[in-house]
Structures are given as C-alpha cells and as structure tokens.
Amino acid sequence: MTALGSAMRSTPALALLWLFTQNLLTRGKMVLAAALTFICIILGVAIRQSTTAEPDVTSVGFVYFFGLALMVPVLSLVISSSVLGDLVEDESLVYIWMRPVSRATIAVTAWIASLFLTLPATVIPLTLSVVIGSSNNFELMLATAGSVALAVIAYSGLFTLLGLLTKRALIVGLLYLFIWEFFVARVGGGAAKLSISTYPSAALVRWIPAETLERWRDVDPLSLEILEERSMEAAMIVPPAVALICVGLTALRLARSRIS
C-alpha cells in the first residue's frame, strides 16, 4: 500500500492529482455515480424493450435530453465544484497553497482529477445505455462517448472554478444549469452560442449516422435546427477552450484571492 501510494505521489503534480482524487472519492459521490449508471442501464433496457420502431433515435434522444442536458452537467457540478471547493470549505487548501507549487499546476491537476472521476462516471453509463438500447450501432456509440467527453471537459473546467469562487457552488451551479442551459439557451439564437451544452450536442449531431440524423429530424426538427447552426470546428474547439479559460481563471484566483 505504502509503496504504491508513494509511487503515485512521486512528483508534485502526481501528488496533487492523488490528493484531489482521494478527496473526491467519497461514498456519496460513488453512490451517485453508481445510481446514475444503474439508471442508464435500466433506461437502455427500457428503450430496447419498448415497441418503438426507432431504437437508435430514441437512444440518441436519451443521450441528448438526459445525458448531455442533465446527467453530465449535474454530475460534473457535484464532482468538479468539490475538488477545490471542499478544500476551501474545510480550510485545508492552505496546506497546498503554502507549498512551492505553481498555481497553474494546482488548477490543472484539480481539473484533471475531476475529469478522472467524471469521465468514466458519465461516458461509460451513457455509452452502455446506447449499446443496450440501440441497434448496436458502433458510430452511435462513438458519437455518444465523444460528445459526452467534450461536455465533461468543458463543465469540469467551469465547475472547478465555480467551487473556488463560491461556497454555494452547488446552488449557483444548479441555478445556472436550469435557468441558462436548460431554458434560455434552448430558445436558440445568441443565447445558444453562449451555452456549453450546445457544442457537445452539435458534435453528437454531426457524429451520428446520417440515417439516424434524418429520422431524428422527423421527430424533433427544432432542436436539430439550433444544433446544426454550430459548425463542427466550433463543436470541437469551444468545449476545450472553455476548460482552458476556466482553468486559467482558477490559477489566477488561487494566486490573487485570500486563502482560507
């Protein structure tokens, strides 16, 4: 245990990553991730067993409406906001802050630690639900995994910063998600451009098989119209750019703010 643990803490960046991950692996978060995985499997089975003639479209709809719009942002919020937020809350951040480690290293490792947990907790169950619910379409699985990963990359950066900015990160984050991402941004236009979820969803739309896309258009033309306004380049670039900016702001905040 000690040898493995020591190896995992052999450099400052690895030690931080190990420390953040240890702090994140609480029973509550594990239960939440397990429950969401269970829900995804159950819903995948339900889609498969349903009488719908379009299991692929239903599966994509599930990834779009439940996965990218609800599950990924909420789980990212719960995990990422607590990476640094919990350390601010229990005032243990001082033990990291006082060490001769750059603020950028702290910010980047905090973000990577939240990715370590959020990526498998979202990509695996949502892809699994598509595997179970769809006609076992490989492109659909890749589209799901890719778009979910893009969303996690952006949300993890944003909510890592939020956890450092406010002690009420969960409430502020939920208000942001429900008011901005779920309602305002779905109206389309300029608001949609400023919504994170639009871009991974646009990537999903562009990665799914053309046949599935056309069937989806028949069912929900309005959503597709908004998503297709985003170019593939924007869908690929904006989420990492959001993460990069937020990680930069996290480092800046660590350098400038008072540390509890």
Partner: protein, 320 residues
C-alpha cells in the same frame, strides 16, 4: 514600546521577516492597523487577547492574506508570489481542517513531495517521529484526537526544514506531556537559528517559549521585545513589590508617610505589598526605614514582572 533583544534570544541579528506599515481591513473592520516590526531567528511569542489580530497577522506573514496597505517580506521575498519564499516557511494554522481521509504519513508525505524534497518518504517519517507519532499508523487523520491532529499539522510544517515556522495556537488539544514536548521542540528550533513565531493567548505557556514577545491589542502593536525589559520601561506604571519583614504594619505606615510608595496593603503580619513608581529610590529608602525602625527585612520581591502583568498592562491599560 520596543526594547532591544535579549542575549541569546534571538540568536542572530539577521532579520528574517519584515513587516512594513501593514494594515488589513475586512469591510469596515480593521483587523491589523499600521503594523511595522521585524522578526529575527529565535522564538517569538505573539500575544494578544482574542480578536487582537494575531491570526490575521500570521496569515499576512505567510501570504495567506494580502495586506490592504504595506508589505510583508520573508528573507526579502513576497510569500504571496514567490514559491522560493514559501519553500522557506512552515505553518501550523489554527483551523482544524486537514485532509481527513489520509493517514498521518500520507499527509506529511504529500507535503514533502509538494515541497520537492528528494527523500520525501524518509523525511516524512522523521517529521512524524519528531512529534512522537508512528508513521505506520493506518488510521485516517479524521479518526485522530485533536492532539494527534495538531501533531500532524506540526509535522507537515517541519518536514521541509523551513527557516521560518509560524504556529497559530499550536498547543491546543495537547496533553500536558505533549505540551512540554512541543515547547521544548520549538525552543530547540529557535536555538538552531530558525525563526519560530508562536501565537497564543495562554500566558503561562508563552512564558515557557522564552521572553521575546510581540503584543498585539486591537490590531495594533502594543509592545515588542523582552517582556521583562518591557516591564522595566513602563515608568508610568507603579511596580508592585512584596516586602517580608518582622513588622509589616509599621513599615507600611512609614513607607506611606515617606512618600516613597503610592499604595500600601498589609497582607499578613509579616508581609506588606506596596506600589511605587521609582523602584531604585524606594529600595534605598526602604533600607534606611528598616534600619531606623530596627526591623529585620527578610525579602523584597517584585510581584508583577511576570508576563501576565505586562500583558494586562499593555492590553487593558494601567491598573487602577
């Protein structure tokens, strides 16, 4: 009120920390006001009642707070911006929060690795042994008593052998034996040339850290230096002196009549306590009075040159 350092404490004239006209406000509350002082190697006790600004000063010293005005330098560097400066500092914060899910060894080992130490594992073990904790304990810090957690905090502060160590109420939660051990550890670090700043409001403990004090009152510097020297500089504050002789009442009456003392209290048949502003003249006068009255004088001892009296005077003002 500033007095020169006493011999042996601090050991070197080098200034390790410089506080230059530092103020810190939180909204309308001014926690620290226009503070200028320096710290040198050796143990310095940071004193003050609750709310005097001790913790804020420590946080300013290590860079956890940005001064509203003024500046803090540790070996010439700014601890807020210089990683090199921070590598020379160890801190034991007052708050209880730690990485509760880690073991003591993991906590100190992470601190050592973050300090970029070559042999982090060995140094972490040694730091834990210094505070009398077993590095092989498998319990997480969350399951520790307050005293054990306090010792882990001290171990992580010492693991990188810092030149400056700041300890905010480090004896909280320790049993008497551990307190003695910690006090002796801090004194040893001070005598090795480290700058050790210990904040406390428990005066009888502080006296055991040595005599060099910084006293804060309402966010301002009330005094700095050797507390016995500070006492001797309090010319406007009458010194309290106990006299043991074979006729306390008569001696007391004669002293009052002579004008050598401002207050006399006979506390026993053979003991009288007096207050005088001019101790030197008082001593000469007392000897001649006892000679004149044929009274045998067995003891003259100051009763308020202890730290508590100095502290009370500085913080609360002169006794009435």
């Amino acid at each position: 009120m500033t007095v020169p350092p006493t011999p042996g404490q601090p050991q070197s004239p080098d200034i390790s920390i410089e506080v230059d006209r530092v103020s810190k406000s939180f909204g309308t509350l001014t926690a620290v006001s226009d503070l200028s002082l320096t710290f040198s190697p050796g143990v310095t006790a940071l004193l003050g009642p609750n709310g005097a600004g001790k913790s804020t000063l420590i946080r300013l010293l290590v860079g956890l707070e940005r001064p509203s005005t003024g500046r803090v330098r540790i070996f010439g560097g700014d601890p807020r911006t210089s990683a090199d400066t921070r590598s020379k500092v160890g801190i034991v914060p007052q708050q209880d929060g730690m990485f509760g899910r880690l073991t003591a060894f993991e906590t100190v080992h992470v601190s050592a690795v973050l300090s970029k130490l070559d042999d982090a594992e060995r140094l972490a073990r040694e730091a834990l042994q210094t505070v009398e904790l077993d590095p092989d304990m498998t319990r997480s810090v969350d399951a520790f008593s307050k005293g054990m957690r306090q010792r882990v905090k001290v171990a992580q502060a010492l693991v990188h052998d810092p030149m400056v160590i700041m300890l905010d109420e480090p004896l909280n939660g320790l049993d008497p034996r551990q307190r003695r051990h910690m006090i002796s550890l801090f004194n040893r670090l001070g005598s090795e040339g480290k700058t050790v700043i210990v904040s406390s409001h428990v005066l009888d403990e502080v006296e055991r850290f040595g005599s060099h004090v910084v006293v804060l009152a309402r966010g301002r510097l009330a005094a700095t230096g050797d507390y016995r020297a500070i006492r001797s500089l309090m010319d406007d504050q009458p010194a309290r002196i106990r006299i043991v002789c074979d006729n306390a009442r008569t001696v007391g009456a004669e002293l009052m009549a002579s004008g050598l003392v401002s207050h006399v209290e006979v506390v026993a048949v053979d003991t009288v306590e007096v207050r005088t502003v001019d101790v030197r003249t008082f001593r000469v006068g007392l000897t001649s009075i006892c000679h004149k009255l044929q009274v045998a004088l067995s003891e003259i001892s100051p009763i308020d040159d202890d730290l508590e009296s100095v502290f009370k005077y500085l913080v609360e003002g002169p006794a009435r």
